[in-house]
């Protein structure tokens, strides 16, 4: 597993190639820093935005070092257009100021923010379905909630809860749930807000697995004797990630019922529908299947998942 010489060589080649290549700014509609008069500046009127933009990534937009001598309003113009008529009319005429409304607004943001996986499919993405939601529904281009990264207008969990109230309520109201909004765990830890609508926008691991395995690596396997996780189902076949009344976050309050719903002889053509055993589940000793079948996620030692 030690890093091999060809790997190091590859890294070096990539670095050299990158160094030798020039910058590429050619996008479909590049947001060039349109030149404006040095004075007056946008911040003469929009001083609140000016104050917050200094620590903002958009202040370093290509070729427009906001606040630097001679830079003028180039950073503002990069996104909003020249605004010459706007200035001449003392703010009355807004015809040459780009407002980031609806789909058009999102499309302009993506002229820059398109070169990574998150925004690769924004047009048909999970949040690109209406004029009511665009990039600015969640992000601010000037300033952000101080506690939030990625220029979010609120903390991540608050942003999501604005629309997804039932899901937010589930985290609040179920006794056993992931600690959303606390200690780095957010909705976006598992869901990709820029992803495609399929699979509930789950943020898969870098190897394409369920996001649960990003943290719960010990459940990843592979196991010699795999249970449902590796055969037909997923983690959510048995677990409710958004909160549960069961302390193992099961989708059923009783673990024996969860098991017996699949493992029953009433059906003969479905996988796993043989009887679990001749246990007397009326006795408490047998009501918790995992007392004996402890390795329910899979085992390397026991075909019956005993250890």
């Amino acid at each position: 597993m030690a890093m091999k010489p060809w790997v190091l060589g590859g890294i070096g080649a990539l670095v050299l190639t990158g160094l030798s290549a020039g910058p590429v700014y050619a996008q479909a509609t590049p947001p060039k820093a349109e030149k404006a008069e040095a004075a007056p500046a946008c911040t003469d009127c929009h001083d609140a935005q000016g104050k917050t933009l200094a620590g903002n990534p958009h202040a370093r937009i290509r070729g427009a070092e906001f606040g630097k001598p001679g830079a003028g309003s180039a950073a503002c113009n990069s996104c909003h257009g020249s605004g010459a008529k706007h200035m001449e009319s003392s703010g009355e005429d807004k015809s040459d100021v780009r407002a980031f409304k609806g789909r058009k607004g999102a499309e302009f943001c993506v002229t820059c923010h398109t070169s990574n996986q998150a925004h690769a499919s924004y047009q048909t993405g999970i949040h690109a379905s209406s004029e009511a939601v665009n990039c600015l529904s969640c992000h601010s281009i000037h300033s952000s909630e101080p506690k939030a990264a990625h220029l979010l207008v609120k903390t991540p969990s608050e942003v999501c809860a604005t629309c997804h109230q039932p899901q937010a309520a589930s985290f609040r109201n179920k006794p056993f749930a992931h600690r959303i909004g606390r200690g780095g765990m957010e909705c976006t830890s598992c869901h990709d807000p820029h992803g495609l609508p399929k699979d509930k926008g789950l943020r898969l691991t870098r190897a394409g697995e369920m996001p649960c395995l990003s943290c719960h690596a010990e459940k990843r396997g592979p196991y010699v004797f795999e249970h449902v996780t590796g055969v037909v189902g997923t983690c959510t076949s048995c677990h409710e990630a958004h909160g549960s009344s069961n302390n193992k976050r099961l989708v059923r309050a009783r673990v024996d019922r969860l098991c017996l719903e699949c493992h029953s002889t009433l059906t003969t053509a479905t996988l796993g529908s043989q009887p679990p055993a001749f246990h007397d589940v009326s006795l408490p000793r047998y009501q918790n299947c995992t007392t004996c079948h402890v390795a329910v996620h899979g085992s390397n030692l026991s075909p019956r998942l005993f250890k």
Partner: protein, 646 residues
């Protein structure tokens, strides 16, 4: 533990030192949290687990202003939250120099605690939640370095390390009884990554090759005082007991991973996206176990006084997913997209387990001898999922947006029969296929601060693979919001999902409804009032066969939850106050109530300093089961913090 104690004050000193040197956007909240818990403390820790102690509640430091001395770094952002007195804290760092490099680092610590009030306890026959407990800590470190961002080629280096360790309790079924074991777990998962992103205008993408290493070492011993096991009665006249047990297992899993993404544009209207991800895992496990006691084996038809076991296993799995899709802008605001993706997983497992049963005798006490049992198992499975989808979306139709789509999922699962499995023949192996067609339609209307959205999804499957698979599933969703000027914000939404499988012998039927509403009122500028209510109902039934007498019973699961919440926010020059109270009542299969109160007060002393007081109360009561409530608690946390904005 040392890291956890050192990190908050170290961060404070570092950030304060840098901030004192220059004027930069910085915010720090730190202080002390007090805890008062009455009732079941283990239940509190299993649910909330916030402790008393020093807490760096929040730190944010962001700047791109280095006083004109741009050296190694020209932009920096540091975010930290909930570092110190657990149970979870995080730190995120983003730094770099424009056009040269970007560095991202993320750290998260999460304490996982679960302690339950019973061990298959016959005193609580209504609900037996479980008996596996743990008190463990997970640390996650993730770093990624991008070189030359914005160039045609951007090399990427990354490293992720996750550790998970700590004590726990589990159970072991041996000798016709179940015994409680203490365990000590040490897991380390690491991934090294190297790759590059490229952006040539009309085509861009990313390729990353990773190497993942997982190491697990776990030891088990018989828990103190647990030698008599779970079964109080004798077996075949013999009181079963375990005198001692020692088990050690180690697992090594090496997994090369590959991920690639390419997006390309054909003209201005067509976008092509291709993706591929692959992980090829090889896991080796070695185990030794030794135990002694008075035990019974029905398989051997003998009593035995101990066993010595060694096991060596190997599991190989290859997983890949890939696909391609095209997005076509037919005209301005109308997009057509379609694609295909495949997920494939192949597993081959082999296990060799040698078990030497010591001092065995027949049930009549005859023929004493040691017996060696060999288990040689081969297990294999193959799963392929193909998904085809096509969708049409029309936006920019004034205030109206429409979308419609179809997708088809084809699942193909083959599980090989394993002669080592001692089960009733049938349905443990074979080939199973399933096809699901899904149709979606949705509309959004948005104008004058009013938004109304409706979605419908219809899914039809030809066959189930497992009993709980649906054949029919319909989901309806309605969402509306209204924000007239800055006085009011109203939102409401509802979702209903109906699932069923009417095949003979299955008869699965499920319905889930979630609906709620929220209103925020801003009557005067410093005052905000909030009210919300949500209802959650879920009900599912499926017949099953009771294994003890083969009669048919119905497994029924019900959730019936009602949430009511009210809050007030007041923002005056000398005082900021935010308070809320909520009550959630669940009358479902496991009834309980949760009462929550939250009060935060902030008194600014000057432009850069404020005192914050916080009171959080959580009162949990699982409504009386057959023998009464078993896990109620009332927990208050009081926090005194200072917020500093230099």
């Amino acid at each position: 533990m040392r890291m956890k104690r050192i990190l908050p004050p170290a961060l404070l000193l570092l950030v304060a030192g840098v901030a004192a040197a220059q004027t930069v956007p910085l915010q720090i909240e730190f202080g002390y949290r007090f805890l008062n818990v009455s009732g079941n403390r283990d239940e509190y820790r299993s649910q909330i687990n916030e402790r008393d102690g020093i807490l760096l509640r929040n730190v944010t430091f962001a700047t791109s202003d280095f006083g004109g001395k741009t050296g190694l770094v020209d932009h920096l952002r540091l975010d930290g939250s909930e570092l110190g007195a657990g149970p979870a804290g995080a730190l995120r760092l983003e730094a770099g120099r424009t056009g040269i490099y970007n560095l991202r680092f993320f750290y998260r610590r999460a304490e996982a605690f679960s302690s339950l009030p019973d061990f298959a306890n016959p005193l609580f026959p209504a609900v037996i939640p479980g008996q596996h407990t743990f008190n463990r800590v997970r640390n996650l470190y993730d770093a990624e370095l991008e070189l030359l961002p914005g160039r045609i080629i951007t090399p990427i280096l990354g490293y992720t390390r996750t550790t998970y360790s700590g004590p726990g309790r589990t159970t072991y079924h041996v000798g016709q009884d179940e015994f409680r074991l203490s365990s000590d777990l040490h897991d380390t998962d690491q991934e090294y990554r190297v790759g590059a992103a490229f952006d040539a205008g009309f085509i861009s993408g990313r390729f990353v090759q990773g190497w993942r290493q997982f190491r697990e070492d776990q030891g088990f011993t018989l828990a103190p005082g647990e030698k008599n096991g779970n079964n109080s009665g004798p077996v075949l006249g013999v009181p079963v007991s375990l005198n001692d047990l020692n088990r050690d297992s180690s697992t090594k899993t090496d997994t090369p991973t590959t991920s690639a993404l390419v997006t390309g544009r054909l003209g201005t209207r067509v976008k092509i996206i291709g993706s591929y991800q692959r992980a090829k895992a090889e896991a080796d496990t070695n185990e030794t176990e030794g135990l002694s006691g008075n035990l019974v084996s029905f398989e051997l038809s003998r009593f035995f006084a101990g066993l010595s076991e060694t096991a060596s296993t190997k599991a190989k799995a290859t997983f890949w997913t890939g696909g391609g899709r095209a997005e076509v802008a037919i005209t301005d605001g109308i997009d057509l997209s379609g694609g295909w993706s495949r997920r494939h997983r192949w597993l081959d497992g082999f296990a060799l387990v040698q078990t030497l049963y010591l001092n065995t005798v027949t049930f009549t006490g005859q023929d004493p001898k040691n017996l060696l049992a060999l288990l040689e198992a081969n297990h294999a499975m193959d799963r392929t999922d193909d998904v085809f989808d096509v969708a049409l979306s029309a936006r920019g139709l004034g205030p109206l947006a429409l979308k419609a789509g179809w997708s088809q999922t084809r699942q193909d699962v083959t599980v090989t029969e394993d002669a080592s499995e001692i089960v009733v023949p049938g349905n443990q192996s074979g080939n199973f296929q399933r096809r699901i067609d899904a149709y979606t339609a949705g509309a959004t209307y948005s104008q004058f601060g009013f938004t109304l959205g409706a979605d419908y999804r219809r899914e039809r499957a030809n066959d189930p693979i497992v009993r709980t698979d649906f054949l029919d599933r319909d989901r309806y969703r309605l969402r509306l919001s209204w924000s007239p000027r800055e006085l009011l914000r109203v939102s409401a939404n509802g979702t209903q999902t109906d699932s069923s499988n009417d095949r003979p012998g299955i008869g699965y039927d499920g319905r889930m409804r979630e609906y709620g509403g929220e209103i925020e009122i801003f009557p005067i500028k410093p005052l905000t009032l909030r009210f919300s209510s949500s209802k959650y109902d879920a009900h599912s039934t499926i017949p099953f066969r009771l294994p003890e007498d083969f009669t048919t019973a119905v497994s029924e699961h019900r959730e019936s939850g009602l949430s009511l919440e009210g809050g007030i926010g007041l923002a005056l020059a000398g005082l900021k106050l935010d308070g809320s109270y909520s009550r959630f009542t669940n009358r479902g299969s496991y009834p309980f109530t949760i009462d929550r109160a939250r009060v935060t007060g902030e008194v600014p002393l000057n432009a850069s300093l404020a005192f914050i007081g916080e009171w959080l109360r959580d009162k949990y009561n699982d409504a009386p089961q057959k023998t009464g409530s078993i896990a109620k608690f009332d927990a208050s946390r009081y926090g005194l913090y200072v917020r500093w904005n230099p």
